[in-house]
Symmetry: C2
Subunit: 293 residues, 2 copies
């Protein structure tokens, strides 16, 4: 018997778990993320996703569903603040018995920064690792570096590295160089070192990917490794205050998280690794437990 | 009476001048750049453009028309080399009386780099400024910094700054922030300084554009100024060996060239300015004069 529903609603995708207490009983997902929905479309998208799960209509959601362009704006909490629990915002659902509550994002005034969804992952990580202090790195389209202490988000900084990779790799002359499979990890590692040593050369090193393809036969796998390494290396150089001498955990999955970990290893760190599905669900459970019934 | 035709054939556009000796008699242009043409399409596109000009079929062309994906590949000359004259490559035109000769681009082995079209602008600049030694900056999608001495291209470096601006401004979350007119020049200048002082923070400073829009009402004109300033500032920091203590000329037109000049002024330089139409035509004239009849 399901007694509540956990939802992670991002820009591109939405995922739901049918929950009994702290245990997921079923899972469903679709590509009807915030970016593809009008304000009036959220309720139908949710019902399509969870309609097969009998009974319960108590939903806790995190992510871009609470953005200004989402179902209802859930105003940011300002740093420093606990990751959770904080006041949830109730969405204007019309279906009888359906109550959808949204976890607010977190903002920082100076330097200006925002997150939506990652605060729930952070809360989940802290639930799974009680008393943990240090830096969390959450790789993605907008990679977050987060300083956590005594259960609070102290400060954070977002790097657009993932979106830069996607835009530069597909919308510039580099698309010709990336036309092929794979990522060469040695080229990646060399490019991390290169960008950390000479961050200002980024624009020139990017063009070198194209030029070396034309002149010296750089392969697509090498090109992808260099593009990724240059951007992650630049980020590591800029995020140095977050990781230098710090205890670091990388929250993520798959090749991207492994690549951040590999880059940090080159700096002499041995980051802890956490799976982002696990911490997201743990954060939604923490929010459910902390919410008034 | 036209006695030859000068053509500047880039990726996006093609422009032709009906010439009598060193004087343009008429001009025509279209958007049938190399990027929109198959190998078989160049001759027709050219004839459509110059068909109204009676008589002469002697054409000198520069730019991407000589790329591997162009009409015929005009292999690169390797640095150090004169900008012009060098051997021209004859395109396989089928129309009786039509002779099209293409100016080869210039390549550099290490660091790997390539140019096609800019070598003609450089030759034109030198024709208009005999004996000039120093650094040429050619802003554009792929901005070139070129060290010129004794009439030769000694070395050069390409920064993808213009394409980065276009891709990041239109294909990432920043597109929401740039939705509006104008460029705030004060914000541009501050961002140049910021990026030069802290080049590694690029990815974070880019995201700050979005965050300051959400939290502090950054305007579209300020957002565009900051995006442009961060990217040009990063480039100036990376290109420092080219301009520091050097005589510099900026070859370009319009707001972009003015913005590069403004950024260089902030570094204590007073760059000479040259119009890119004038130098392109001067370079094509130099190639025509240097070519065997």
């Amino acid at each position: 018997m399901t007694d509540w529903i956990a939802v992670d609603w991002g820009t591109s995708n939405v995922r739901a778990w049918a929950m009994r207490g702290g245990s997921p009983m079923a899972q469903a997902s679709s590509d009807r993320g915030m970016g593809r929905l009008d304000r009036d479309g959220f309720e139908g998208a949710l019902l399509d996703l969870i309609g097969g799960w009998a009974g319960q209509g108590d939903v806790i959601a995190c992510g871009m569903v609470g953005a200004r362009q989402g179902w209802i704006e859930a105003p940011y909490a300002m740093t420093p603040c606990p990751a959770l629990p904080r006041g949830l915002i109730t969405a204007p659902a019309r279906t009888p018995g359906l109550r959808v509550r949204i976890i607010p994002g977190v903002a920082q005034s100076a330097p200006a920064d925002v997150m939506r969804g990652e605060e729930t992952q952070i809360a989940g990580f802290l639930r799974l690792n009680p008393g943990w202090d240090g830096t969390l790195c959450l790789p993605g389209s907008h990679t977050k570096w987060v300083q956590v202490s005594a259960g609070e988000i102290v400060s954070f900084q977002t790097f657009m590295t993932g979106e830069m990779f996607a835009a530069l790799g597909s919308q510039t002359v580099l698309r010709h160089s990336l036309n092929g499979e794979g990522t060469d990890e040695d080229t990646f590692a060399a490019a991390v070192d290169d960008a950390m040593a000479h961050p200002a050369r980024l624009g020139a090193r990017l063009f070198s990917i194209r030029a070396e393809g034309l002149l010296h036969g750089l392969t697509a796998a090498q090109a992808r490794g260099r593009l990724s390494g240059l951007l992650i290396g630049l980020e590591l150089a800029g995020a140095r205050p977050y990781w230098l001498g710090a205890r670091v955990a990388v929250i993520g999955a798959g090749a991207l998280a492994r690549r951040y970990a590999a880059a940090l290893l080159r700096q002499g760190l041995t980051p802890a690794m956490a799976d982002n599905d696990s911490v997201t669900l743990a954060g939604l459970i923490a929010a459910h437990e902390g919410a008034t019934p």
